[in-house]
C-alpha cells in the first residue's frame, strides 16, 4: 500500500462510508428483515406474532399458488427462449462482415428499451384491443375474418403479456450478445477463413463457443427477470382475467398492498429470491465447462 493511503486511513473510511451505509440500510438489512418477517404474522399495526413455518405452508397450499408458480415459470421460459433466441439470431446476422448499417439496426432495436413501462403497457393494450387493436386490424386488412381477444383467453393472455416484455427488452439482450461476439479476436476468424471455413462454420465453431459465457449471462438475466417481473403484468392485466396471468410477484403485491399481510408477503418474497439465486447458481453449475475450456 502506498504511503498516501497508509497515512490517510481516516479519509479512506470516510470515503467508503456513504456507499457502505446506503447499501447496508437499503439492501442488506432489509434482505435479512424479509427473511425474519416471513416467520411472523403482522399487518403493520397489531402486535407481531411468531408463526414458524406457517406463512410458507399457507403459501404452498394457497389456491392460487400452483397457477402463480406455473405462470411465472412459463413467463420466464418465454422470455429466455424469445429474447436469447432472437438476440442470437439478430446478433449473428449483425456480426457478418458484409452487412452494413450495424450501428443503425442496433440503435433501432434499442428504442423500445428506452420507453417507460407505463407507456409500453398502455400501447400494447391497444395493439391487442379486440375491436380497434393493431393486430386484429392488420389481420382484417389481410382479409382474415379471424380476430382474437388476445388478453382475455387462458394461454394467449400470458403469452401476449410475455411478448410485450420480450418486445421491450430484446434490444438490450441483443446488444449484450452482440458485444460478446465482437469480443472474439479477429485473428481467429481470419485464420478460420483462410482455412476455408464458411461464415456459418466460423459462427458456430468460433464465435458461439467463445461468447458462451455472455450468452449464459443473458439467459440468467432473462430467466430471473421472468420470475421477478411485475410491472408489465400488473399494468396490462393485474394478473387477470381470473388467474390467467397471475404470478408470484402479483401474489406478493396483493399480500402486501391489498391485505397488508406483511409476514405472508415476505414469505413469497423469500421464495422469489431463492428461485432467482437458485437459477443463477444452477445455470452457472450446469455450464461450468465453458469457464474451464475457454477462459
Amino acid at each position: 500500500m502506498s504511503p498516501i493511503f497508509r497515512k490517510n486511513r481516516g479519509w479512506l473510511v470516510l470515503f467508503s462510508l456513504p456507499a457502505v451505509l446506503l447499501f447496508l440500510v437499503v439492501m442488506i438489512v432489509p434482505l435479512f428483515q424479509s427473511v425474519y418477517y416471513s416467520f411472523f404474522e403482522w399487518n403493520g399495526l397489531s402486535t407481531v406474532a411468531f408463526r414458524g413455518w406457517d406463512n410458507y405452508t399457507r403459501m404452498f397450499t394457497a389456491r392460487e399458488f400452483e397457477t402463480s408458480a406455473v405462470n411465472s415459470l412459463m413467463y420466464a421460459m418465454v422470455l429466455v427462449i424469445y429474447q436469447v433466441g432472437m438476440s442470437l439470431f439478430l446478433a449473428s446476422i449483425l456480426t457478418q462482415a458484409r452487412i452494413r448499417g450495424k450501428q443503425l439496426f442496433r440503435n433501432l432495436y434499442f428504442v423500445p428499451v428506452l420507453l417507460s413501462i407505463s407507456v409500453v403497457a398502455q400501447l400494447w393494450k391497444w395493439v391487442y384491443n379486440p375491436e380497434y387493436g393493431l393486430i386484429n386490424r392488420v389481420a382484417e386488412l389481410l382479409g382474415s375474418p379471424w380476430r382474437q381477444n388476445w388478453l382475455n383467453r387462458p394461454m394467449s393472455s400470458l403469452l401476449a403479456v410475455a411478448f410485450v416484455e420480450c418486445w421491450k427488452g430484446t434490444g438490450y439482450i441483443m446488444l449484450i450478445i452482440y458485444a460478446g461476439f465482437r469480443n472474439v479476436p479477429d485473428v481467429y476468424m481470419e485464420a478460420a477463413a483462410i482455412d476455408g471455413a464458411s461464415p456459418w462454420q466460423r459462427f458456430w465453431h468460433i464465435s458461439m463457443p467463445l461468447a458462451a459465457p455472455t450468452v449464459r449471462m443473458t439467459a440468467i438475466m432473462c430467466l430471473t427477470n421472468g420470475f421477478r417481473a411485475f410491472d408489465t403484468t400488473y399494468l396490462m392485466t393485474k394478473g387477470g382475467p381470473g388467474f390467467y396471468t397471475y404470478n408470484m410477484t402479483i401474489m406478493m403485491y396483493n399480500a402486501m398492498i391489498t391485505r397488508h399481510d406483511y409476514g405472508y408477503g415476505s414469505a413469497i418474497a423469500v421464495l422469489i429470491v431463492v428461485v432467482c439465486v437458485g437459477i443463477m447458481l444452477l445455470l452457472n453449475h450446469l455450464t461450468r465447462r465453458f469457464d474451464e475450456i475457454y477462459q
Binding site: F5, S16, V25, M27, L31, W126, I176, M252
Partner: protein, 275 residues
C-alpha cells in the same frame, strides 16, 4: 448471385425486426394526432389525414404533467447525485487499497446485482412509514440510489484500475492533502464513466415503476410513470389525447438517446458483461 440472395434475406430479417420494434411506436405517434373517428374507423394505420395537434394541449391540461415531470426530474437528479458521489469515493478506496476488508465490501455490493427488488420491498415500506418519509420523494430516492450502486461500482472499478498510481503519488510528494488529491487530480480523470452513469441512471430512474408504485402513495409526489397510469384510467375513451401524453412522456429519454446513443449502448453492453 447466391451470395447476394443470402445477403438479401439477412437484410430482410433485420428490416422486419426493425419494423416490429418501431411500427407500434410510429402507430402511437400517428394516433396521437388523430381524432377518434380516424383512429377507429377511417384511417387506423397511416399518417393522420387531418392533424389534430390539439390533443397535446388537451393532454397537458387534463393531466398534471408538470407536477409529474417535476417529481421525476427531482428524483432522477438527486439519485444521480447520490449514486455518483458515493460510488466514486467508495470505488476509489476499494480499487486502490486491496485488503480483505475492501475486497469483501466490493464483493458484497457487486452481489447486489442479483438480488431481486422484491427482497427488500416490505422492509422498505415499513421503514418509509416509520421514518415519516411517506410525504417525501426521498422515500424512493434513497432506495434508487442503493439499487444503482452495484452497476455504478462495476463501471467505476474498471476505470480506476486503468489510472496509474503515479498520478496521486507525485501530488502527495508535493504535500497535497488526501481530499485535494482526489477531487483535483483523480476525479477529473473519471469524466467519461461519470457521464455514462448519469445517462444510465437517468433512464432507470425516469422509467422505474415497481418501487414507486408501492412507496409513493401521495398524489402530489407521484413520478411520471405512476402519473401516466392514473391518466390512462380516467381518459380511457380518447386514444388521441392519451397518445399525446404517451409521446410527451417518451420524448425526454428519446432526445437523450439521440445525442448519446453511442454512450448508452456501450454502457448497456458493458452492464451485461458483469461476470
Amino acid at each position: 448471385m447466391k451470395r447476394n440472395m443470402v445477403r438479401g434475406i439477412l437484410y430482410l430479417f433485420l428490416i422486419l425486426y426493425a419494423i416490429l420494434s418501431l411500427y407500434p411506436l410510429i402507430w402511437m405517434v400517428f394516433f396521437s394526432f388523430k381524432d377518434n373517428s380516424e383512429i377507429f374507423v377511417t384511417n387506423p394505420f397511416g399518417f393522420p389525414k387531418v392533424w389534430h395537434a390539439e390533443n397535446y394541449p388537451a393532454a397537458l391540461e387534463s393531466f398534471d404533467a408538470l407536477t409529474y415531470f417535476k417529481n421525476s426530474l427531482i428524483v432522477a437528479a438527486l439519485t444521480i447525485l447520490i449514486v455518483e458521489i458515493s460510488a466514486l469515493m467508495f470505488c476509489y478506496v476499494v480499487s486502490r487499497v486491496r485488503t480483505p476488508v475492501t475486497k469483501a465490501l466490493g464483493m458484497i455490493i457487486h452481489s447486489g446485482m442479483f438480488i431481486p427488488v422484491q427482497a427488500v420491498m416490505i422492509p422498505l415500506i415499513i421503514v418509509v412509514r416509520r421514518m415519516g418519509l411517506t410525504n417525501s420523494l426521498f422515500s424512493v430516492i434513497v432506495p434508487y440510489a442503493a439499487l444503482g450502486l452495484p452497476f455504478a461500482c462495476f463501471l467505476f472499478m474498471g476505470f480506476y484500475q486503468g489510472l496509474p498510481l503515479e498520478l496521486e503519488e507525485s501530488a502527495y510528494l508535493d504535500g497535497a492533502s488526501f481530499p485535494r488529491i482526489y477531487f483535483r487530480i483523480i476525479m477529473p480523470q473519471m469524466i467519461s464513466p461519470i457521464v455514462v452513469l448519469v445517462i444510465y441512471q437517468f433512464m432507470s430512474c425516469w422509467n422505474e415503476y415497481n418501487l414507486a408504485l408501492i412507496l409513493l402513495t401521495k398524489k402530489t409526489l407521484k413520478t411520471l410513470p405512476l402519473g401516466l397510469v392514473t391518466f390512462w384510467s380516467s381518459y380511457e375513451a380518447s386514444w388521441g389525447v392519451i397518445g399525446a401524453a404517451m409521446v410527451m412522456a417518451s420524448i425526454p429519454v428519446l432526445i437523450i438517446y439521440v445525442f448519446f446513443s453511442g454512450k448508452i449502448t456501450d454502457a448497456m453492453a458493458v452492464s451485461g458483461m458483469k461476470n
